[in-house]
Every structure is written in C-alpha cells, then in structure tokens.
C-alpha cells in the first residue's frame, strides 16, 4: 500500500531533526534542503539512507541530487512506495 504524503512528511521531519539537528517544526514541504535547512550533501546521504530504512524504498545515488526540497523527497518516497 502506498504511503500517504502526511505520513512520509512526518517521518522526514523526524529524520532531518535527528541527522542534522533541525527542529521538526521548521521543516515544510517547500523548504530547500541546502539553502533553507542547511543540510549539506553528506548529511543528505544520511537522510536518504534513514528514509530508505524507514519507508522500505530504494533511493538510487543518481536520484539523491534531484531531491532539492523536502517536497521532492516526500513525493519521491510516496511514488516509490506505490
């Protein structure tokens, strides 16, 4: 069964808070990981691996750089889980 956008966003908030120390409250769909949340390229890999484990999806290396915003990541995971 596909995951809901709300469920994935809630999970991503927890992961980003855990990996990068960004308060979950400031993490929204339109936030850019690099420019708004200061999640650098290596922390992004940690976020991606944690998301893979949590949601049971595969996010290939060549996709990681495409995930610019929180919304990009949430939508990718929702689609991948369908």
């Amino acid at each position: 069964m596909a995951l809901t956008q709300e469920a994935v966003l809630a999970g991503i908030k927890e992961i980003v808070e855990e990996v990068a120390g960004i308060p979950a409250a400031s993490i929204e769909m339109n936030k850019n990981f690099t420019n708004d949340l200061d999640v650098d390229s290596l922390s992004m890999v940690e976020v991606v691996v944690a998301a893979e484990e949590r949601f049971g999806v595969k996010i290939p290396d060549d996709q990681v750089s495409e995930l610019a915003t929180v919304g990009d990541a949430v939508n990718f995971i929702v689609k991948a889980s369908a």
Binding site: V49, D61, S65
Partner: protein, 337 residues
C-alpha cells in the same frame, strides 16, 4: 608430502612515515575552486595537507618511510625478502615502484611488486604480507603505501582539489609467536567502478593530447560516502568477528583517511565505544590514498604512545570499489640499536 616449516603467526614489527615538508593550508587552495576554509573543514575535516616538492617522487617518499620503519625495528634492508608497494600514482606502468624502491634501499634481490587497490592498497598489502609470512614464503615483508596524488589531481576541480595530498607510510611484517594480525576481510563492489576514476585513459590522452586533459582523479562524493559508511562499515564489523575481537576490546580505529565525516559516521555504524581512539590524521594530512592508514598509524603512535602493543582495527576502501580490513596489534615501542 611438502614440508613447509612455516611460522604460525605474523605481526607488525614497526611502522614508519614520511610527509613532504610543505604544509598547504586551505587558504592556498580555495581561490581556484571558489570555496572557503570553513566549507572544506565542515565537509572533510581537512585543515591543511602536505604537497611534495616538484622533484620529490613516489620512490623518494617511500624510501624515507621505509628507512624509518627499518630503523625502528633495528633491521636493515638486507633483512627484508619481500617488498610490496601500494600506489596508484607511480608514473611508470613498468617496471614497478617496488623494484625501484628495493633497488634504491640497497636490496635488489628481494621479491618486489605493486598493488593497485587504490585507497585500500595498504590493507590489501598487510593481508598478503601476513599470509606470506605465515605460509613460509617470506620472512620479513616491507609493505608500503605511497602516493603523489598532486600529480593526478586537477587543482581547479571543486570536488577533489582540496582532498588529495602526498605522503608515504610503511610497516614491516614478520613472524610472531602469538597471533597479532587477524584474518583480512576484503572484497569489491566492482559494479560501482565509476564512483572513483582516474581518467581519461593513457590511450585517449595520447591520441588527442591537444583537446584532452591529463588523467586526474574524479569521484562522486555522495555515492562514495554512502558506500563507505553503510557497506564498508559492515566489512569492518566482519573483520572484528573474523579476529574474535569485540568493539570494546579495541584500543584504536585506523580507517582510511578519506573524510572526517566518513570516519565519524563509520565509527558510529560499527558501534565503537568512546574509549576507542579514532585516527583523524585527515585534519593535517588530507587524503593520501594508499599512504593514509600507515601514516595515520605512525601519527597516532606519536601522539598516543600508550597505544604501542594495543589492538587496532584497520580498514581501507577506495577506487574499484575495493575494500580490505583487519584487526592488528600495533607495533611495540621502537627497539634500541
């Protein structure tokens, strides 16, 4: 029936290191790649690195590291019967760096060959040397990791210019009454060869030298980070298991010095307790590929002399992608001659 008459165990007898004298801080690198000292330190932990002089080659640096290792073991090159050099930056395809080195050191009769396993080369060499000693093929082996990466790094490449550096490290491996080198856990992820490459090929360069750049190292940072932290860490855990050593029994963790963030995250993944001292030679040495593990070992024993004789987990990983790791007992304090 073959009579082997071989010793049962092997050990690291001594370690030596050599770094070029020129210290290159981030401030000297940043202008060409539009970066900052802060950015480089945050991403890699590197504050400064050493660059070899123009006329200082791979063999010069290797010689200095080997002479220190020999002197610390109270041995001479005549005592060495096998020389293994791990490098990807010796500028001759043949004959090998190892034959040039053993001739330079004064023993042109030793068995000598090079390993191309990039940043894992030193740990590949330690594994082979240990097995050569245990099988009776060799009595004392020099294993050298040496690189002059500045010859193959594009100073304008924003992804690599601040990472790579030069240096050499060497160990002597000989027989032991007790097991002091655990089994080597090694392997490759050869479907990911494109993650770290030195390109173009010599043929492409020769055929179109006008339009094609000199071969340089390029890497996909995120892919390498993910592989190192989440795959190589599992190999490190297997190396501990193969040696029958628990994380809490370790005194030191000496991984390839690729990036301090990789080192820290790897330590977390392996589950190393806080008391284990983690080599962070990357800060002042940069990434010296095959030289990084023995250089970090030598540096750690200088700053933490209490680690002599302690248990350390070594793990190398790099272009291939390839990896190798083993648990070793660090060499004793240098014997007085």
């Amino acid at each position: 029936m073959i009579h082997a008459n071989a010793p049962t165990h092997s050990r690291i007898v001594s370690v030596g290191g050599y770094q070029p004298s020129r210290v290159v801080p981030n401030s000297e690198i940043v202008d060409r790649i539009d970066s900052t000292d802060e950015w480089i330190q945050q991403r890699t932990g590197i504050e400064s690195r050493r660059f070899a002089a123009k006329d200082e080659g791979v063999i010069d640096m290797a010689q200095a590291a080997c002479e220190q290792a020999l002197s610390r073991a109270n041995l001479t090159i005549a005592d060495i019967d096998t020389v293994i050099v791990a490098t990807i930056t010796y500028p001759f395809q043949a004959p090998s760096a190892a034959t040039a080195l053993t001739a330079r050191l004064g023993n042109p009769k030793a068995a000598a060959f090079d390993i191309n396993a990039a940043c894992a080369g030193f740990c590949y060499g330690v594994g082979m040397a240990s097995d050569f000693v245990k099988s009776g093929t060799s009595k004392k082996v020099l294993v050298v990791g040496v690189e002059k990466l500045t010859d193959f790094t594009d100073p304008d490449d924003r992804a690599t210019a601040f990472i790579f550096a030069d240096g050499a490290g060497a160990v002597i491996i000989g027989a032991s009454e007790t097991p002091q080198i655990g089994p080597t856990v090694w392997g490759s992820d050869a479907d990911s060869r494109e993650a770290i490459v030195m390109e173009p090929s010599w043929n492409e360069f020769r055929n179109d030298a006008q339009g094609i750049k000199w071969p340089n190292i390029a890497q996909q940072g995120q892919a390498v980070f993910r592989w190192a932290v989440y795959s190589v860490s599992k190999a490190a855990i297997r190396a501990l298991e193969a040696a029958g050593v628990k994380p809490e029994q370790l005194d030191a963790f000496i991984p390839h010095q690729a990036n301090s963030r990789i080192i820290e995250t790897m330590a977390k993944e392996i589950g190393l307790p806080e008391k284990v001292i983690i080599a962070q030679d990357i800060r002042t040495s940069g990434n010296t590929s095959a030289a990084s593990v023995p250089l970090a070992m030598a540096a750690l024993l200088e700053t933490h002399p209490e680690l002599h004789g302690g248990l350390a987990l070594l793990i190398g990983y790099g272009a291939g992608l390839v990896y190798a790791g083993q648990v070793v007992q660090l060499p004793p304090v240098a014997s007085k001659s």
